[in-house]
């Protein structure tokens, strides 16, 4: 605005000194824009996503910026990391100074709104350095996929009791976690206490103990993902909300059951999740539920049925008429 004002004054008065000041102001804009480009020049960026994340639960993303310029540092860089389905990104990472040839890492918290794949396409680096007059940005392609698990909620004892999980005694029972069955490679979600440190040190890889479990301690969760024909959009929306709540409840109960040394399996129409043994990480169940989609009732396979083997079987209801808070105790 000041530049425009000075320009008008210069044209009106014909005062050459005002033209000179106008020239200085325009030059500041020009140099600022050019040098902002230089600050962004030869800046490389990498992203480290967490091993797993849960819907509607904050998680941390690490961004690392590397300044590959030989002589010039880069100052005051802001990084906007945006998932493909986000309208507006979060500008959460700020890098004050990255010396030539140096790199810096910064983290920011983000929250995935829903389960499923969260895909990242580009990262935008912006700066207004050196003069703060013009903002320049560069979008750098940086693909990345993060599977977001269903939201985990606290499940109270009453709900667990309804699902039959509370009947198991969770701790201090000899052999309750089973005998050592063997070892396998570490997977995300494994408990640190199950790592076999001697073997890990010997093989230079993280290795965990696998334990046997009682076939009596097994829970099968049945979830019907068939979507009925809806009378209107409102009804469709209510059903989907209920379905997401049911998926979340299924994941939460499965997690609680696994913590209590109960093997878990989830059955839906046309598919069965891997059976996760007690002590093993719940990731196979979570991954199964994260990618679960509804199908039209008209073309859906038959409803899931209970297994013939021993163990408890519980059906997780998808009831649009029940609010999420009430559903746990329904």
């Amino acid at each position: 605005m000041v530049t425009v004002g000075v320009g008008l004054a210069a044209v009106n008065t014909g005062n050459n000194l005002l033209y000179l000041v106008l020239g200085l102001m325009l030059s500041l804009l020009l140099v600022s824009g050019t040098l902002s480009d230089v600050a962004l020049w030869r800046v490389r960026i990498s992203r480290r996503l967490p091993h797993h994340a849960f819907a509607q639960t904050p998680f941390v993303v690490e961004l690392t910026l590397r300044n590959t310029k030989r002589r010039l540092p880069s100052y005051a860089l802001e990084v906007e990391d945006r998932a493909l389905d986000e309208a507006k990104g979060e500008r959460s990472c700020f890098f004050l100074k990255i010396s030539p040839g140096d790199s810096q890492a910064a983290t920011y918290r983000r929250t995935a709104p829903r389960r499923g794949w969260q895909r990242f396409g580009t990262v935008t680096v912006r700066t207004r350095y050196p003069f703060g007059l013009i903002e320049k940005g560069r979008s750098l392609p940086l693909a990345g996929d993060l599977l977001v698990y269903p939201k985990l909620r606290a499940v109270d004892a009453r709900t667990l009791h309804v699902f039959g999980v509370g009947e198991e005694t969770p701790s201090r029972c000899a052999g309750e976690r089973g005998e050592v069955w063997g070892v396998r490679e570490y997977r995300s979600g494994d408990e640190a206490r199950s790592i076999h440190w001697f073997r890990s040190a010997a093989t230079d890889r993280l290795v965990v103990r696998e334990q046997t479990s009682s076939t009596r301690s097994q829970l099968t969760l049945l979830l019907d993902q068939a979507e009925p024909a809806h009378v209107d959009d409102d009804a469709r929306e209510r059903w989907h909300r209920a379905f997401e709540d049911a998926v979340s409840l299924t994941a939460s109960v499965a997690d609680a059951a696994l913590r209590r040394a109960i093997a878990v399996e989830v059955r839906v129409r046309g598919a069965i999740s891997p059976r996760v043994a007690p002590g093993a990480p719940p990731d196979p169940i979570f991954r199964f539920l994260a990618l679960l989609t509804s199908v039209s009732a008209a073309v859906a396979p038959p409803p899931p049925t209970a297994p013939t083997s021993a163990g408890r079987t519980m059906r997780v209801p998808v009831d649009p008429a029940v609010e999420a808070t009430d559903r746990e105790v329904a």
Partner: protein, 710 residues
């Protein structure tokens, strides 16, 4: 260095430059300047302990309102000049900000106010002092803006805008953020900033509308050119080295006599030790075929002198000895030429009316045959005016008759001139004894016998009048020191002089009775001080000519010179070359310098654009390793497009290859091969066999060139 300390230092530098800009000219009274200076220095000792006290900000707000009220009161009640009041208030605002430099936001205010001061100063001064302040801004501004931006970012990301927070304070105290490299690098930005400023200044169209023109800033006062002059006025300025006129001979040859005689005005009435001019209605003096003719239009062989006259309080047009005509270029206003308004009065008193606070530039054509003679006819009615005497002056007349002897008026006048100048009876001196109530002329002629030029010229003029020769006292400048830096002759205030014109043999002829010793008492001609003064004056002249007086005409001629220079570089036809060469000779090194600067700037911009284009292209083509594959496939696409087989945006390369084959293209196998190789290299990191693929591409091109109908 800590960022916080460095930022405060640079803020003070910029604020100081802004206050200095406000103090340019004479609008800021010395007392106000002193108070502002005290506030500026005093604020250095104010820190967080004081400005965090409760009521501190309220106190300053109240003070600001009170100061504003006081200024309004002074304006309405005491009729103080509005500009002075505004300048004082602007300075006070800055000082109050310096007392409040808590956060980046306050420093942004300081920086904005300093810029406003620089803008305001454009109406306060056009001199070299403004140039110095301006270049100070060019140097300090990159530091200030960069540091303020960094600080603002730190405060934003590590605290809140109003409260920096402990983490932000910790970062601001860090010594690792800015160091000598930062300072040097940021200072180096002054160079591109300066070049870009110069380019914008030169190229921005000069189409001033003049709606808000501030007009005349006011000229320098030089005694001797007003309505009257008292004996003694000139003597006191003899040692003043301030340059007021610059003479630049077109042929580079200096004056024959070693000095220039620039005639200003004349006085016809002497009474009580004071010369004055009889009032006459001024007549407009317009050009004739482009020249203001004094005797005749210029001819071949006349010497051309370019005269650059500083704005003086009296807008006199100075005429060099022997001038036959003047050429005063028009002013450019609202993008059109406006002729200068000149007028003349009897006694060859030439003045310009449209002074704009800028130097007057004009050309004078000088001929040897016209030297010492002036074209100013004397009518019978005017003779009495030039024979006027304050009384009988018997002693003076007897002395004149005795010393003039017999002969023609010219011979008698020359004898009197020689007696006063060369006889040795009279001594040139800047000091005069107190004459009390007595006539200073009689004291000079009969008692003191010492004085400066005015006494000598008055003595000769009056003595000539006593013996019946019409005469008048003339004031102007005699002198001129070669300025090697600016390549001109500088005429200073100390060169102001007084001499006599007498009407002999039907023309006004020049007589200068002042002894040669006058030349020894002028401004110092040697030593480093004189050199420094010459350098400064050359800079001032360049600033005035190239910046302050830059207009549409010079802009157009500069662009034309640049165009001719470019054509000369490219080896244009001889006539243009000759023209360019002539222009280059006329404009000398300055023209070449500007051309070179403009070429460098153009080259820099072109390089920046090329770099930018390359980077965008590199981004579009992906990583370096796969660029060969991308280019290869782009060539294939271009060839197929020419054949009428373009790839729609939604079609993959493989689908495109299949569709080309389905269309019956005869080199479809080559298209498949190139597509597969491209995909393997682009997405699989496979190595390309470029020579083989280029051969296949040639096959595709050959097939594309064939007539599809055959």
């Amino acid at each position: 260095m800590r960022l916080l300390t460095l930022h405060a230092t640079v803020s003070y530098l910029l604020a100081g430059l802004g206050l200095l800009a406000l103090s340019l000219g004479s609008e800021l009274p010395p007392v106000s300047a002193l108070l502002l200076g005290m506030g500026y220095v005093g604020s250095l000792w104010v820190g967080p302990r004081i400005w965090n006290r409760s009521g501190y900000t309220s106190f300053w707000n109240a003070l600001l309102v009170a100061f504003l009220a006081a200024q309004v009161l002074r304006g309405f009640v005491f009729r103080a000049p509005v500009l002075t009041l505004g300048v004082e208030f602007a300075g006070f605002l800055q000082v109050s900000r310096l007392f409040h430099r808590r956060s980046a936001r306050d420093h942004q205010h300081i920086q904005a106010l300093a810029f406003l001061h620089l803008i305001a100063a454009t109406v306060l001064s056009t001199g070299l002092d403004y140039a110095a302040v301006f270049f100070g801004f060019v140097l300090v501004t990159p530091w200030m803006l960069a540091l303020t931006h960094l600080r603002a970012e730190i405060e934003r990301h590590y605290g809140t805008p109003d409260e920096p927070g402990p983490r932000a304070r910790q970062v601001l105290q860090s010594r690792r953020i800015v160091g000598p490299g930062f300072l040097l690098g940021t200072a180096a930005l002054a160079l591109p900033l300066f070049l870009a400023t110069a380019a914008f200044f030169l190229l921005f169209p000069r189409v001033g509308m003049g709606f808000l023109s501030f007009g005349d800033i006011g000229g320098r006062r030089v005694a001797g050119f007003g309505g009257d002059v008292e004996l003694g006025d000139f003597g006191v300025i003899r040692a003043d080295p301030t340059v007021v006129v610059r003479v630049r001979p077109a042929d580079g040859v200096g004056p024959r006599e070693g000095h220039y005689r620039l005639r200003g005005t004349s006085f016809d009435h002497y009474e009580g030790g004071r010369w004055s001019r009889t009032e006459h209605r001024p007549q407009p003096w317009g050009p004739m075929l482009g020249y203001h003719v004094l005797q005749r239009r210029p001819r071949d062989g006349d010497r051309e002198l370019e005269i650059l006259l500083d704005p003086l309080e009296e807008a006199v047009v100075f005429v060099p000895d022997g001038a036959v005509a003047l050429k005063v270029p028009p002013r450019v206003a609202n993008a059109v030429d406006v002729p200068r308004q000149l007028q003349q009065r009897p006694g060859l008193d030439l003045r310009y009316l449209d002074g704009d606070g800028l130097p007057l530039r004009y050309l004078a054509y000088v001929s040897d045959e016209a030297r010492g003679v002036l074209p100013d006819p004397l009518t019978a009615e005017d003779i009495a005016t030039y024979l006027q005497l304050p009384g009988p002056l018997r002693r003076v007349r007897e002395l004149a008759l005795d010393k003039a002897g017999a002969g023609t008026p010219r011979e008698r006048a020359r004898r009197l001139e020689a007696w006063l100048r060369d006889s040795g009876e009279f001594v040139y001196s800047l000091e005069m004894p107190d004459t009390g109530d007595r006539d200073p002329l009689e004291v000079f002629l009969f008692e003191a016998k010492r004085g400066h030029c005015e006494y000598f010229s008055t003595a000769l003029a009056v003595m000539l009048r006593t013996i019946g020769v019409p005469s008048r006292n003339v004031t102007g400048f005699v002198g001129g020191t070669w300025n090697a830096y600016g390549r001109y002759y500088a005429v200073s205030q100390g060169d102001a002089h007084s001499w006599v014109e007498a009407w002999v043999d039907g023309a006004w002829e020049t007589f200068d009775p002042t002894p040669a010793a006058r030349g020894e008492m002028g401004p110092g001609q040697g030593g480093w001080l004189a050199e420094a003064r010459a350098l400064l004056d050359a800079l001032r002249t360049r600033w005035s000519e190239d910046v302050v007086s830059y207009d549409l005409r010079r802009q157009v001629s500069g662009l034309r010179r640049f165009y001719l220079w470019l054509r000369a570089l490219r080896g244009a036809e001889p006539s243009e070359e000759a023209q360019a060469s002539t222009m280059a000779r006329r404009n000398g090194a300055a023209g070449r310098g500007w051309g070179l600067a403009a070429a460098l700037l153009t080259l820099s911009i072109a390089m920046l654009l090329a770099l930018r284009w390359r980077r965008r292209r590199a981004l579009a083509e992906g990583p370096r390793a796969t660029r060969g594959a991308t280019r290869l496939y782009a060539s294939l696409e271009a060839a197929l497009r020419r054949r009428g087989l373009p790839r729609p945006p939604g079609r993959t390369p493989k689908e495109h290859a299949a569709s080309v084959e389905a269309a019956g293209f005869e080199a479809a196998d080559a298209v498949h091969e190139i597509t597969e190789a491209y995909l393997a290299a682009r997405y699989g990191g496979a190595e390309l066999d470029l020579p083989a693929l280029k051969r296949r591409l040639r096959d595709v091109r050959r097939a594309c060139r064939r007539d599809p109908e055959r």
